[in-house]
Amino acid sequence: MTYVLRIVATAYLFFLVAWPVSLVVTHTFDDGFASISSLLQDPDTVVALQLSAYVAVFSVVINTLFGVGISMLLVRQEFPGKRVLNAMLDIPLSVSPIVVGLALVLVYGGRNGWLGPTLAGWGFDVIFSTPGIIMATTFVALPLMIREIVPVLEEIGIEQEQAAQSLGANAMQRFWRITLPSIKWGIVYGVVLTLARSLGEFGAVKVVSGNVLGQTRTATLVVEEKYLNFDQQGAYATAFLLAMVSVACIVIVAIIRPKNHS
């Protein structure tokens, strides 16, 4: 029975994940490193890759700060509307990224948005500009950090913090010396997932970015563009680079994470 289950699981993962992804790799290296090096010589693609990295880093930083704060709030405090907040945090996972993009345009759109014209009046463009891309990416990746930290916080409980308090530690000292080290690995995993999700975001970014070549076109948009223009080689090479970053993150974390972590 266990053998049957193992074969089914392996076959399922092979046909769904391993085989398609490995084909991306093999296609990328059909003619050696030529496709990658030609990619890196195209200034527009380099700008796109840089923009993707820049947006992903911002999204990770914002989601980490807010993720830790919201998780502490959800686990440690009782307040009216807590269940509503908890349910709202899953919205980014349950609605299509396209919807996220359109919703952001409704609020921040430079001409017709609720808030957009005011911000534009101050010389701050959100939609069709980098802030919009960052917002859309942060939105879709929002729950990942929180869903990693909340179970860890629930598991460690509050006794360690109370012990620290009775030993004279104030709220800041308790957070830096006790809480943060205890949830460290939850945060690390959250960062990896958020980074991978942010690099790969496509739908929401496509709506809000305007897809301006060399300015607001991210790496995932480049993949689409190249694919539609029958530059399959370039599309695969870009996709490969994106996938590699995510895989590298997960591998590194798996290596440095202590084995007897409890």
């Binding site: 006794e159 360690q160 009775s166």
Partner: protein, 325 residues
């Protein structure tokens, strides 16, 4: 007086955890808060530590009104039932925590940590992580950590409750000896009467949010204020409207004493040197009696024998409660 609590009330929703509690805990003594689970003793301890806030009433620690002082400013040591070790720090770092918070010089911290680890017999484990220690070792480490900051009072919440019976007994003796050396005012919560009677200088019996009695172990055992205290501190049976200990009943095969109650032996169990009997009296009571094996044999007691029961001379007796607990 070291800790003075007066007029303390605490409710959790509809549940009354503490009902107008007044208690004074003497300086330098080892005091036990004894009572059944859910009786409010842990809540009382946590309010003294500042980890919980009373609804009304005051807490005074060594002459300072601590009622509104946050826990970190009370300078009390607190030891938790489940140790609350800092999992990501070594044993030495755990013990050093309070001193580092107080920004003491490095060499002083090191010296004090070594001293404390020696006191709790953990010197050779100083570089280990808590996960590599046994339960008893973790609790000793937690105790050293609490003592490191030289607290005015040391509070222990069921400190041995999570340990197995043997380690529990060892640590109990060790705590008593440690207290004789260190002399810090210590309060510990327990639901185990044996633990309280054996270790404490003074016992505060807490039940249903109220203090039932305060006294030395001898006072409590010999002069219980009421049926609850008596029944909580040891086995109790009822004979003719009074509560008393089963071993304080004399048993005879003929009605020699005035006021003796007649009954028949319904069950007889021998455990080592003692014999436990259940006697059904003519009044309809079921009385437990403990006799020595020798006594039972000399009287030729067996199930179905008719016997006469009287309270022994000097027996501790209190009037029976309306509803026997």
């Amino acid at each position: 007086m070291s800790i003075e609590v007066s007029g303390l009330n605490k409710k959790f929703g509809d549940f009354v955890a503490l009902d107008n509690v007044d208690v004074t805990i003497p300086t330098g003594q080892l005091t036990a808060l004894l009572g059944p689970s859910g009786g409010g003793k842990s809540t009382l301890l946590r309010i003294i530590a500042g980890l919980e806030k009373g609804d009304s009433g005051t807490v005074n620690i060594e002459g300072v009104d601590a009622t509104n002082l946050p826990a970190q400013k009370r300078n009390v040591g607190f030891v938790f039932q489940h140790y609350a070790v800092f999992k990501h720090m070594t044993v030495a770092k755990n013990v050093a925590f309070g001193l580092e918070i107080r920004k003491r010089p490095k060499d002083e911290i090191e010296h004090r940590v070594n001293e404390l680890l020696k006191l709790v017999h953990l010197s050779q484990f100083s570089h280990r992580l808590p996960s590599q220690l046994s339960g008893g070792q973790r609790q000793r480490m937690a105790l050293a950590r609490a003592l490191a900051v030289e607290p005015k009072v040391l509070l222990l919440d069921e400190p041995f409750g999570a340990l197995d019976a043997k380690v529990r007994k060892e640590l109990r003796d060790w705590l008593r000896r440690l207290h004789d050396d260190v002399h810090v005012t210590t309060v510990f919560v327990t639901h185990d009467q044996e633990e309280a009677l054996e270790v404490a200088d003074e016992i505060v019996v807490v039940n249903e949010g109220r203090v039932e009695q305060v006294g030395t172990p001898d006072q409590l055992y010999d002069e219980p204020a009421n049926d609850f205290v008596m029944s909580f501190l040891g086995e109790v049976t009822h004979l003719g409207g009074a509560s008393l200990r089963p071993h304080d009943i004399e048993l005879e095969t003929a009605p020699r004493m005035a006021g003796a109650v007649e009954g028949t032996i319904a069950r007889m169990v021998r455990i080592g040197f003692e014999v436990r009997l259940t006697v059904l009296t003519v009044d309809g009571d079921e009385v437990s009696v403990v006799a020595t094996r020798t006594h039972a044999r000399s009287q030729r007691l067996e199930e179905g024998s008719t016997v006469w029961l009287t309270p022994a001379d000097g027996a501790t007796m209190v009037p029976r409660m309306a509803v026997a607990g």
